[in-house]
């Protein structure tokens, strides 16, 4: 009985967690068009899959948006993301910690 109550709570508490999980596929959708469905890259487009720690990923995106790193299009794109959105991307693409 006790177990059932706990599980009920889990089910009820799922939506807020899921709300964020919905944002992530939408955000990575913007990356997939070039970097591939799983971020694997190809044709010279760099792989972004598990290549960086979260901190490194965040730092890389910051350096793109500040034009501190040579880029073709990533400077222009990275400035379209809020820091929160960049953090979601980092959480998705970074190496497991």
């Amino acid at each position: 009985m006790k177990l059932k109550i706990v599980l009920c709570f889990l089910v009820l508490s799922a939506p807020p967690v899921f709300a964020q999980a919905t944002d992530t596929p939408l955000l990575i959708g913007g990356c997939q068009g070039c970097h591939g469905v799983s971020g694997q890259g190809g044709q010279g487009i760099p792989s972004i899959k598990a290549n960086h720690s979260r901190d490194e990923f965040m730092a890389l995106m910051r350096s793109f948006s500040a034009n501190e790193r040579p880029a073709t299009i990533m400077g222009r794109i990275s400035r379209g993301y809020s820091p929160e959105q960049t953090a979601l991307l980092a959480a998705h693409y970074a190496r497991p910690q």
Partner: protein, 430 residues
């Protein structure tokens, strides 16, 4: 029958819902999603739904068994690609659990929430996505109808006419011949497309028929990535291309297909050995018949969810929509698709729609190892859509780069264009 198998699993999972929160959650958002149109918008929507929302039952209705992309059609025209390399089938989407139905849609009954097919079948839905694409406005340029387009190809809607027709005419053109292009006013599918086409035709002419000329007659005075294109034309194809905007009598109002002649607003008549007419456009018939288009011929949508403002319960994607400043591009259609699917999943689960961010990345090939791009990140604004401030824009101009950096930038963008094409088509059809 993937559907009945899924339905079985869904039903079987129900009593176990408490013991399996993930399934229970998926169950809450279950529903039948029907997608009309299997292009960049529709195919992306089907794939995204299968990858991220397993509770959605997904049917994709597309009359053709294969899809030929508009992007990279200009490379076929230049002889750098073949038709096979830009044509895809729906088998892998079907293998991912999408029910693919190759039928024409006869009618959409939004009140009864069902779609009637040419074979008489009725397809019921809980949510409908329409990614209908465009039709050409026959007769908008006097004399330019479907019959005229056989002699003066448009090469703009692959399902109506393969780019290979224009390619054959270009190949048959004598050296020293004249290639005439007619380009429409905004809005139209693929804003940089005509200018990539000018570039690719010029590349072919320079290589194969160097005494030939290209004259582009444009119904407007400016175009996408204009300084980048014009810098490149001067650098790569000096003396081959003449582009004339509206204020230089570039607007073509009449054509005579039998005489292979076009006539401008102020009466100048020009003959071409090959004449490529890209006529004005509108949302495809299926969307207009469903009542989704307004008097402009295009479909107004709600920015937060991409639902039609004209007919409730239908999400409209891609080129058919009024979504400026987002361009009518394949990447934008794919971005629309993902957001519409996420909104549908949220709505079926009784949740608010997710916040919208839309993306565009659009490359143009200008020459061998010479690519340029425009990118954009967009959010819903108070009345329409707005580009995120400080983001987006086009590649830097030549003058802004050192010679070494310029070469590298153009080469990389040409390479990345190919990577973009492989990735986005793999996402849809792989």
């Amino acid at each position: 029958m993937a559907l009945s198998r899924r339905a079985f699993f869904a039903a079987a999972a129900m009593p176990a819902a408490l013991a399996a929160p993930r399934l229970a959650h998926a169950q809450a958002g279950a529903g039948r999603v029907v997608i009309i149109g299997g292009g960049f918008g529709g195919a992306s929507a089907a794939r995204f739904a299968r990858d991220n929302f397993p509770a959605l039952d997904v049917t994709l209705i597309e009359r053709s068994r294969t899809f030929t992309t508009c992007p990279y059609g200009n490379l076929v025209l230049a002889g750098r690609r073949d038709m096979n390399s830009i044509t895809f089938g729906y088998e892998k989407l079907a293998a991912r659990g999408v029910r693919v139905v190759h039928q024409s849609v006869v009618a959409v009954d939004a009140a009864a929430k069902q779609v009637r097919l040419a074979d008489g079948a009725q397809v019921p839905y809980d949510r409908l996505i329409m990614s209908p694409g465009i039709d050409l406005r026959w007769g908008a340029i006097e004399g330019y109808d479907e019959a005229a387009s056989e002699r003066m190809p448009h090469g703009w809607v692959p399902s109506l006419q393969p780019i290979s027709l224009l390619r054959r005419q270009l190949e048959a053109m004598p050296d020293g011949g004249r290639f005439v292009m007619v380009i429409p006013d905004n809005p139209f599918r693929c804003p940089p497309g005509p200018y990539e086409r000018i570039s690719m035709v010029a590349e072919y002419l320079k290589r194969a028929k160097p005494r030939s000329k290209l004259i582009a007659l444009d119904a407007k005075n400016g175009f996408s990535k204009q300084p980048l294109f014009q810098d490149a034309w001067e650098e790569l194809y000096p003396g081959i291309i003449q582009w004339r905007g509206a204020s230089n009598d570039g607007r073509v109002t009449r054509v005579n297909a039998a005489a292979m002649e076009v006539e401008t607003e102020f009466g100048e008549k020009l003959k071409g050995d090959v004449v490529n007419v890209i006529p004005p456009q509108m949302a495809a018939k299926i969307a207009r018949d469903a009542g989704l288009a307004n008097q402009s011929g295009w479909c107004p949508i709600k920015p937060a969810t991409l639902e039609s403002t004209q007919v409730e319960g239908i999400h409209v994607l891609g080129d058919a929509t009024i979504a400026a400043p987002m361009p009518k591009s394949g990447f934008v259609a794919s971005s629309h698709a993902k957001h519409a699917v996420a909104c549908i999943a949220a709505s079926l689960a009784g949740r608010a729609p997710p916040a919208a961010t839309f993306f565009n990345t659009c490359y143009s090939h200008v020459g061998a190892d010479y690519g340029i791009s425009i990118v954009g990140v967009f959010r819903p604004g108070p009345t329409g859509f707005a580009e995120v401030e400080g983001s987006g824009g086009v590649s830097p101009r030549n003058a802004a780069l050192t010679a070494e950096r310029r070469k590298e930038q153009r080469q990389l963008e040409a390479l990345y264009a190919d990577g973009w094409y492989d990735s986005i088509t793999d996402e849809m059809f792989g």
